[in-house]
């Protein structure tokens, strides 16, 4: 077991090094430089551009720049091109903003998808099954930002609640109770929106997993023993159907960055996805690269955790 974990970690570290090299190359080889973001600015003289290039080591060969970046990243010295703030601090602050959105979104996804999927599988071809199938396809097919706009209009017009941003302007001095309620209102809609596509996909998976399990021999055996139907389905069936979702749980972690760009932009939520979007606009290479690196770390961590959990949960898997 320990051996297995160490081998896995070692493989992932090697992968991570390659990923960082490739993403560094992609970002640096693409045309467009931080110094050229604002070409129409008359105050930018060639010598200014040259000064910027020297300051950011942009004149060095690519592999030297890579070494600079890695070195700065691990000593915590990495500074953003844009405002000279430490990158890690910036990302950490945004991470704290993204985290509640991500957690609540994930909770909604998992708490909705499982009942819907199980119910649909148990009553296959029923009205409920057909409707939920159709709705999940519709939810996958709708562009997220289009739906968000419809919901924003609906919420603002019917409930008259604030939905954009993280808090209402001017409420900073209000008592804690009001501030937290305000935060909850701001959190609800974006979390729901980011949960919708996930719920639709996950409930389909749950349904097909349950369908696979339902006709197994051990289910028939459990029924033949005379166990109550609930116990047959939830103890014998669901537990076995749950196995693949351990893997999926690990894979949701990277959604923290990649999946949230659109929603954080619409709802003006100062999170990691939006940080990445702003960094891309400003050609802020250190931030882009570090975000990419962190998200790769998250993916690899997620798969590692799910591999280990899988091995723990399923005794059939041997090392």
């Amino acid at each position: 077991m320990i051996n297995f974990i160490f081998r896995n970690i070692w493989q992932r570290i090697v992968l991570l090094i390659f990923i960082s090299i490739i993403s560094h190359a992609i970002v640096h080889l693409a045309p467009g430089e931080p110094a050229l973001v604002d070409p129409s600015n008359p105050r930018m003289k060639p010598e200014d551009i040259q000064r910027i290039r020297t300051a950011f080591h942009l004149d060095e060969p690519l592999h030297i720049q890579y070494v600079y970046w890695v070195n700065d990243l691990f000593t915590g010295e990495l500074k953003s091109f844009k405002d000279n703030q430490p990158v890690l601090g910036k990302i950490w602050q945004r991470f704290l903003n993204s985290l509640p959105l991500f957690l609540i979104g994930t909770l909604i996804t998992w708490f909705l998808a499982f009942p819907v999927g199980i119910r649909a599988a148990l009553s296959r071809d029923s009205m409920f099954d057909r409707t939920s199938t159709f709705f999940s396809y519709a939810m996958i097919s709708i562009p997220g930002f289009f739906l968000s706009y419809l919901v924003i209009i609906f919420m603002v017009k019917t409930f008259d609640v604030p939905v954009i941003g993280m808090q209402t302007f001017g409420l900073e001095e209000a008592p804690l109770l009001f501030r937290s309620m305000d935060r909850v209102w701001h959190l609800t809609v974006p979390a729901m929106m980011s949960a919708i596509a996930g719920t639709a996909i996950l409930s389909r998976y749950v349904r097909s997993q349950m369908l696979e399990v339902i006709h197994q021999d051990y289910m028939r055996t459990a029924r033949a023993k005379g166990l109550p139907e609930d116990q047959v389905i939830y103890r014998h069936g669901l537990r076995n159907a749950l196995l693949p979702f351990i893997t999926m749980f690990g894979l949701t972690i990277p959604g923290l960055i990649g999946g949230s760009v659109i929603f954080e932009t619409i709802f003006a939520w100062p999170g990691m996805g939006r940080l990445g979007y702003e960094a891309i606009l400003a050609r802020d290479f250190p931030v882009i690269l570090t975000l990419n690196f962190i998200s790769a770390v998250l993916v690899l961590l997620g798969t590692l955790v799910s591999d280990i959990l899988y091995a723990v949960a399923d005794p059939r898997i041997k090392f």
């Binding site: 992968l15 071809d125 097919s141 562009p143 289009f146």
Partner: protein, 323 residues
């Protein structure tokens, strides 16, 4: 003694239905998938006609700007005295209204149909080509060693690396840094979505590699590229093509998300995504500018998804309902 053996007779007869016919029948039974299929066929026709009528034989001109005719709701008749007669829409009516520059939304949607579908199909085509190539090479030459590692290891590690990138973020990075062009968007979407295909084709090839027809082909000294692409790929491709249907839907959605952030297909090319992204600014004054492209995307992507799912069911006996 000479009685004909009924079992042998039956063996000699061709099967009552061909493989294709059988699958077609299964697809037909799934009414939503079948309807989606014909809807998509209709849409393809519409895209071709739209291409012809907006560019070659200009009947609907999406580029005419009529500043006096801004924000007209759908089904408004053309009744302007300021705009010259030759700029009037066909039949003298704005079927889907006009936008902030007085352009005919119907003509723009028609132009967008072909552009959006092209983006979807070309992106998926690229991802299929790359995926089949890498998957095929990894599956067929997997045991060949380059130095100390096998070809299979190299390719599959590369696939793992690609899977670790947050896809949308990567697309955004590349599209934002490259000069904006419709081809870059297709290429980038294609190059970031081939990993699933590669894995699938590799798995298929691993099981096909040792089958008799491949061994027979090898024994006849047929060149290896021919064995891979003429003998093996057709045996592995059906499920890949089916998931490509859903890939087209995803590509159209990705393009619209990129348009929303301002990195999608740039004007003057119209796609559903950028009509929607431009229209959202006028959501309260001209809701049709948001709703028409929004619901078009919804219905088309839904049709691709339902059709793809129906095809997948038809091509995979395990998924069929037993009832």
């Amino acid at each position: 003694m000479n009685e004909p053996n009924p079992y042998l007779e039956a063996d000699a007869l061709p099967p009552s239905k061909g493989l294709f016919q059988e699958r077609w029948d299964i697809l037909k039974r799934n009414r939503m998938a079948y309807a989606s299929f014909w809807f998509l066929m209709f849409l393809l026709g519409l895209a071709v006609l739209g291409k012809i009528f907006t560019q070659t034989v200009v009947v609907f001109d999406p580029k005419v700007v009529r500043l006096s005719e801004k924000f007209l709701p759908p089904f408004t008749a053309f009744a302007s005295t300021l705009t010259p007669k030759e700029d009037a829409p066909v039949l003298g009516i704005y079927l889907l209204g006009t936008d902030e520059l007085g352009r005919d939304v119907f003509a723009r949607m028609l132009e967008g149909t072909s552009v959006s579908l092209t983006v979807g199909f070309v992106a998926v085509g690229i991802s299929l080509t790359v995926g089949v190539f890498f998957g095929g090479v990894a599956g067929f030459y997997g045991r060949v060693k380059l130095g100390f590692i096998t070809v299979d290891t190299i390719i599959m590690r590369f696939v793992d690396i690609m899977l670790c990138f947050p896809t949308f973020f990567l697309i955004l990075t590349v599209v934002a840094l490259l000069p904006p062009s419709i081809y870059n968007i297709m290429i980038v979407i294609g190059l970031t979505s081939w990993m699933g295909t590669a894995r699938f084709v590799r798995a298929e090839f691993l099981s096909l590699r040792d089958q008799d027809f491949v061994v027979a082909a090898k024994s006849q000294a047929i060149p290896e590229w021919r064995i891979i692409f003429i003998h093996m790929v057709p045996n592995a491709i059906a499920p890949v093509l089916v998931s490509a249907t859903i890939g087209v839907a995803t590509a159209i959605l990705t393009e619209s998300s990129l348009s929303f952030l301002g990195f999608g297909v740039q004007p003057p090319d119209a796609t559903w995504g950028n009509i929607l992204a431009d229209g959202k600014t006028f959501l309260f004054d001209a809701p049709w500018l948001t709703f028409i492209p929004g619901f078009t995307i919804l219905f088309v992507v839904l049709a691709f998804n339902l059709c793809g799912e129906g095809l997948r069911e038809a091509f995979n006996p395990k998924l069929r309902s037993t009832s």
